[in-house]
Point group: C2
């Protein structure tokens, strides 16, 4: 028995396969919850994997796109790995779609991965518990001649880059998409905004900062939460500089992580300062009261966008627009909720992305002079 | 040849040896610079190591304490490892006193470490380049039956703890010592403040957050900059909870790292929010204009304390006092510089720690009601 080929996305520049690799996504019990956010990203779209089927026995016979975004994508949800293999015999990889807090591998998910390994599939996972460290699972993968990619495997310090200020020489305008909570749509907005800018002829690249961004085919970026903290700034700068050197885009959209004041790990200052961004798009879900996963805690109330805009201003960065995530707001309440948000931030465009699409945001980013008259 | 015993401070609670281990500190070429900040801490005092001699060939025959703080400590500086061994034949360990940006092992320092290893000393290092990964050095250490402790060796994710809010149940008042720059005296103020509080009968423990804090004998804490970023908040919380469970102090002083707006890696929000602190002491060096190591960069100007206090207020935390580091200010200018700082922050005590000692700070922390009348 040979060891499986272990790979991990450590370099700052990541070519993606053409065509995308046909994939099964494992999201058992979580496709309809925030824990399934990796699966959500893959269902929304990926240039690295071509998603053929999702495993979640609680949503059998649903369309995965319908579950994730309300729009059918033709990707079916099935109950078991066996069903998935029957539906998509061409799949060569199983991708873990779970993103639980702490990134642990559950017994249930491990059992599904053993079935995938037995079927000879390559395995891709962004859990902090690395699949390659599970001797039985890794042995089975190796015996089938397949591979394991632990996306969040941490590169050692000697492979990492310290921040040196070279970001200041990069021509591209850098815009960060931050949010007032985790799992609020920052990555999706980043990806769609990059698309909308490219559609308008503004050459734009997304700088991903999480596992899903890589899985979706991101070419430049970092896995923020599994890096040694001393090197995050330098690795982010390295991704920006590599992107500029390779393709010299006009705009880079930097995907945000977490939230600036989330007590389980505040995040955002590094992206703004070490990435030297020109502006921020602030994603906000007005219907949420407490940070994701911290519903019971009085100290975990989500601040208002106005307060967040002021905080971001203290970092020397203007908020160009607030992008609303209205998931869970009743249709008849949407106009009132949007009006409330506008009243609270009268000097900044507040955009219902579903209603207005990404066009308005793209115009703002492409031409910040538009802001002057607001 | 057997492998050396490799240790690293991974647990959140670290008993220290009694008596402290006699040590040689390596600080060749850096005892008088900011790069020598680990050596500075060890010379100021450690309960883990008893520092007998410092190696820095540029300062031969100086008293190390005189160089570091202007007060002789009886610790001589010598030119070579051989001189150090002659001066302190009882030493059983050599500790790396360098803290270069990026944490790399230089050729020169490696040569000194080879000499220490040949002499049979244990080696302790907080560099990101781990000594145990250097086959020749590790082999020599093993052959002599000695050990290597790479303080910044990163624990794997499976050994780490995710933040869960248990910090809110801890009785001790938590105070963070943040700073407007790196290498500005946050750790020294934290350590001395904890001492001054204990002297007043307020049972206080310092929560260290860097390698030097551990080397100085810190019992509870984390090595912030070599942790995976997703677990920093949880590991900090774990150190606080372990401290409360073990010794239930009245106050915990949390050592800050870096600076809130340092572009090479902003830091501070996690300590305030994930540590749920009641207040901040802000360390400031009015004579510095640019962040440590970034003198040429226009974007790297150090913000005013007033602006930093406002930023900290945005995180919901009051600044209880500004502690000044006046290193490098001419004696005749000190009164004017302090008066300027007071004029800029009229509502907050601004303390010249050297002149007033830690007593005033200790009284503020012990009795925040004092602040009401200010």
């Amino acid at each position: 028995m040979t060891a499986p080929t272990l790979t991990r996305p450590t370099a700052r520049s990541h070519p993606r396969p053409t065509p995308a690799t046909p994939a099964i996504v494992l999201a058992d019990g979580c496709l309809a919850t925030l824990e399934g956010k990796v699966a959500h990203g893959l269902v929304r779209g990926s240039d690295r994997f071509s998603v053929r089927v999702v495993v979640d026995h609680t949503l059998t016979r649903c369309d995965a796109g319908q579950v994730v975004s309300g729009t059918p994508t033709g990707i079916p949800v099935v109950a078991t790995v066996a069903d998935a293999l029957r539906h998509a015999p061409e799949a060569t990889v199983a991708v873990v779609g779970h993103a639980p807090h702490g990134g642990r591998l559950s017994t249930e998910l491990r059992a599904l991965l053993m079935q995938c390994a037995a079927a000879g599939l390559d395995l891709v996972s962004g859990l902090h518990d690395h699949l390659a460290d599970d001797a039985e699972l890794a042995g089975l993968v190796a015996a089938r001649g397949a591979t394991i990619t632990d996306v969040r495997r941490t590169p050692p310090a000697r492979e990492l880059r310290f921040w040196d200020g070279s970001v200041y020489s990069v021509r591209a305008r850098r815009i960060a998409v931050l949010g007032t909570d985790c799992a609020i749509g920052k990555r999706t907005t980043s990806r769609m905004l990059a698309g909308a800018l490219n559609d308008r002829g503004v050459r734009t690249e997304m700088i991903y900062t999480g596992q899903t961004g890589w899985m979706q085919g991101g070419r430049y970026g970092i896995i923020f939460d599994s890096l040694l903290s001393d090197f995050i700034a330098g690795e982010l700068e390295g991704a920006i500089v590599a992107c500029a050197d390779d393709i010299d885009p006009d705009v880079m959209i930097i995907e945000g992580q977490g939230a600036l004041r989330h007590p389980a790990g505040p995040c955002g200052a590094t992206l703004m300062l070490s990435g030297a961004v020109a502006g921020v798009i602030l994603q906000h879900a007005p219907q949420r009261t407490h940070y994701d996963g911290l519903d019971g805690l009085p100290a975990a109330r989500i601040p208002s966008p106005a307060s967040e805009i002021e905080l971001i201003g203290h970092y020397g960065v203007p908020v160009l627009a607030v992008a609303l995530n209205l998931t869970g707001v009743a249709l008849e309440d949407i106009d009132r909720v949007v009006a409330d948000c506008r009243a609270q931030s009268p000097n900044i465009p507040v955009i219902d992305v579903v209603k207005h699409g990404l066009g308005t945001l793209a115009e703002i980013v492409a031409n910040p002079a538009l802001l002057q008259g607001n």
